[in-house]
Amino acid sequence: MDRSAVEIKGLTKMYGKLAALNNLTLDVRKGEILGYLGPNGSGKTTTIRLMLGTIKPTSGSVSIFGHDAQTEKDTVHTSIAYVPGEANLWPSLTGIETLHLLAKVHGRVDLDYRRQLIKRFELDPNRKVRTYSKGNKQKITLIAALASRAELLILDEPTSGLDPLMEQAFREAAVEAKGRGQTIFLSSHILEEVEALCDRIAVLRSGKLVELGTLEQMRHLSSLTIEASFRNHPPEVRNIKGVSKVELNGNNLVCQINGPVDELLSVIAKARPLTLISREPSLEELFLALYGRQSEAS
């Protein structure tokens, strides 16, 4: 049985001479939440539009649940729901009318769950869309997608415009969806959200996939941070292989190490530390480290 919900092979999209997406190969496994990261203009939304079939690839293919996203759009669209980064809705409809319309368009809806979501997201569904704030419009598209209970949710920065409480409500709903076996493709700028929700993370830069893996697998991209305090002056660690960013503050030492830690720990242990803390990099640090490295390389 095929384990992939989405299979992207050699996907390229050119706009004139500009490669918005360059030979992207990626798979999204059934039931997982894949975080899709990248700076502005890196090709995230282009990938999503190719998955939806709203634009054509220059080369390569996207297959969703075994069906080609371009030639079998009708079949593919029966099993997906999409939340755009910017909710452009019809101003003269009310919230509930828009939800009704989008349910018709999706062809499926869990009405009880939709009622729950309306309550959780604190949406007044009887107001006209033109009176909604940006966040409230975003809630409409989110509720519509989640209530469709589609097998694949394609979310393009779904929490932009939401306040922290609503972001939390979204995370809960995403976890519930995963619990039901739904697959989520989550493009986001909120690294904390991706770190909290995603099973795997794909990182895009200038249209190319630069990293793909679990957060644990990606930790190698950045250094481990070591903080130690001593009764006396800290030992000299600058010459140890892999150590960088050494900071001395009185009897306190902070440094980063990339690679084996045994030699560093041995030197620290000989100096009899009072405290010792090691910290793995956060996704934000990984992201910054990755882009710092890419910038230097380029």
Partner: protein, 557 residues
């Protein structure tokens, strides 16, 4: 002055002209349309003057034509003041084209105004502009001044090119006369600007602002038409700006004082709009829809129903326009016929004029006159179709289409449902208008066939399908150029229709006009063979355009 905690930094450049940024922004975004409109108006006008000389080279020939025209109450609905010196080519040009161009200028300026003053607010850009050093009323004023500058550009292009073209040759106009005529036509845009500026403050959406503005503009034009048509009501000209434009009389006893009256009208409207803008909050309006409403799901189950729900007010507006003109023409039909009964030789020439128009003259002038309604209805519907397709494109570029087709709805289904709605609406407008004409004509004892009017009138659908086919093809292949292609085809059709008989252009040339394929019933019999060919070509265009649309990338703003 505010005490600042920020230290002065020599690296920060103070930009000059911040106060006039909105003016330039508005001007920059409307100037191309302004220049194109000026050129369009110039071509239409020049074609009239040049055409009458080509068709009737002698004054005596023109005098006999004019005798028929001047006594024709029907033509007075759309044409100018018959007291003008219409024997001269310049006078004929004024008589024939100035009122209609003034009406078109009014509607054009109104659409720009509602787009700038309400459209920008609706899509959130106005808020961004207001974050600069402007109050709401200042921003409104500067935007309006930007539009006025565009209207000024239209006037300059119109006047200058007309003066250059007519400086030599058989159709000569003075420099001052050309500019005064151009000013008279473009002054119509002040009506649209003024009314559009006010309705932009009153209505919550651009669409509503446009709808609220179209109605008074049409009513003011109808008042002017009634004043022109019924001799006892000529005083009505004094109460409508379109009547004031008639009174400007370029090239013959010019009365430029009416320009001041028009300017005063514009000024009062603009001042009112600015005062209203200062009194309301951002994104609020004086006539507001309810912020919340009981849900109505009835029409949301199908794409045709959903689209009808979105556009019903606009479609009803078009229908109102069609039926109103049909009513106007049909209700005065008998009066017109009576007026013309003593027309002598003029009557004969008038019938010839109608025969040119319909291609198949009916000996009864009242029947031929009824056919004029068909010409107006087809004009109205061609513009409706063009507007409608532009609305479809906006649905796509705004991103709303993404919400629909990310579900099980296909692009083709979306497009065909929308095209079905506009074809259905056109059918209904033609049918209803013709039924109204038949009923009013019958009430006046004029014997016209119900079948000919009600079903024969549907031959107008042929050219409409053709325009729709061209439009959908453009939408599928080159959506960026949709608007310009649609309106160019319409402008071309009217230009060719106007100049082809006057300049005695060949059939090949005149057949490039969509209006060439309209049979104006009841005077002319519908040509169903032509209808079928044109209709099939249109449907083929729709089909090919839909295929191209399905294969191309969706466009974003």
């Amino acid at each position: 002055m505010l005490a600042s905690t920020v230290l002065p930094d020599p690296k920060i450049r103070k930009l000059r002209g911040a106060k006039s940024a909105i003016f330039w922004f508005t001007f920059r975004h409307s100037i191309i349309g302004g220049v194109l409109f000026g050129l369009f108006a110039m071509v239409e006008s020049y074609a009239q003057g040049r055409g009458i000389i080509a068709a009737f080279p002698n004054v005596s020939q023109r005098a006999s034509l004019i005798h028929g025209l001047a006594n024709n109450a029907a033509l007075s609905l759309f044409y100018g003041d018959k007291t003008a010196n219409i024997v001269s080519p310049s006078g004929y040009m004024v008589y024939r084209i100035m009122p209609i161009l003034a009406l078109v200028a009014a509607i054009w300026a109104m659409t720009i105004t509602t787009k700038v003053l309400r459209g920008q607010e609706e899509n959130g850009r106005w808020e961004l502009l207001l974050s600069g050093p402007y109050s709401s009323s200042q921003a409104t004023l500067k935007s309006i001044l930007g539009i006025v500058a565009t209207l000024g550009s239209s006037f300059l292009v119109f006047g200058l090119v007309l003066a250059l073209l007519s400086s030599e040759g058989v159709f000569r106009l003075s420099l001052g006369g050309s500019f005064y005529f151009a000013l008279s036509v473009i002054s119509g845009s002040l009506i649209g600007l003024g009314i559009g500026a006010i309705t932009s403050q009153l209505a919550p959406t651009r669409r509503n602002a446009t709808l609220y503005a179209v109605t008074p503009i049409i009513v003011l034009f109808i008042i002017r038409s009634i004043a022109n048509t019924i001799s006892g009501l000529t005083w009505l000209k004094n109460i409508t700006p379109f009547g004031w434009i008639d009174k400007l009389r370029p090239f013959y006893h010019a009365q430029p004082i009416w320009l001041l009256v028009l300017a005063l009208f514009g000024l009062i409207c603009i001042t009112s709009a600015i005062l209203l803008s200062a009194k309301r909050d951002l994104n609020q309006s004086f006539i507001s829809d309810k912020d919340s409403a009981k849900p109505k799901f009835g029409l949301l189950g199908s794409q045709v129903g959903f689209n009808f729900r979105l556009l019903r007010n606009v479609l009803f507006g078009w229908m109102f326009g069609g039926v109103a003109f049909a009513t106007l023409i049909a209700s005065i039909d008998k009066t017109v016929a009576r007026t013309l009964s003593g027309g002598g030789s003029g009557k004969g020439r008038l019938i010839k004029t109608f025969s040119d128009l319909t291609g198949n003259p009916d000996s009864r002038i009242e029947v031929a006159y009824l056919s004029a309604a068909g010409f107006f209805i087809v004009t109205l519907l061609l513009i409706m179709v063009a507007n409608y397709l532009v609305t479809l494109k906006e649905e796509e570029t705004s991103g709303r289409l993404d919400n629909l087709i990310s579900g099980k709805l296909s692009r083709g289904h979306w497009l065909y449902a929308r095209l079905g709605l506009v074809i259905g609406a056109a059918f209904l407008i033609i049918f209803t208008s013709n039924i109204v004409i038949w009923a009013l004509a019958s009430a006046q004892g004029i014997n016209v066939s119900f079948l000919t009017l009600s079903f024969g009138g549907l031959n107008i659908l042929g050219p409409l399908l053709m325009l729709l086919g061209l439009g959908v093809l453009a939408y599928g292949l080159a959506p960026k150029f949709l608007s310009i292609i649609m309106y160019s085809v319409i402008a071309w059709s009217f230009t060719i229709d106007i100049i082809s008989s006057a300049l005695k252009l060949g059939k090949g040339f005149s057949s490039t006009s969509l209006l060439h394929y309209v049979s104006l019933v009841p005077a002319a019999n519908p040509n169903w063979r032509t209808f079928s060919i044109i209709g099939l070509l249109g449907l083929s265009g729709i089909l090919l355009g839909a295929i191209a649309f399905d294969r191309r990338d969706l466009q974003a703003e």
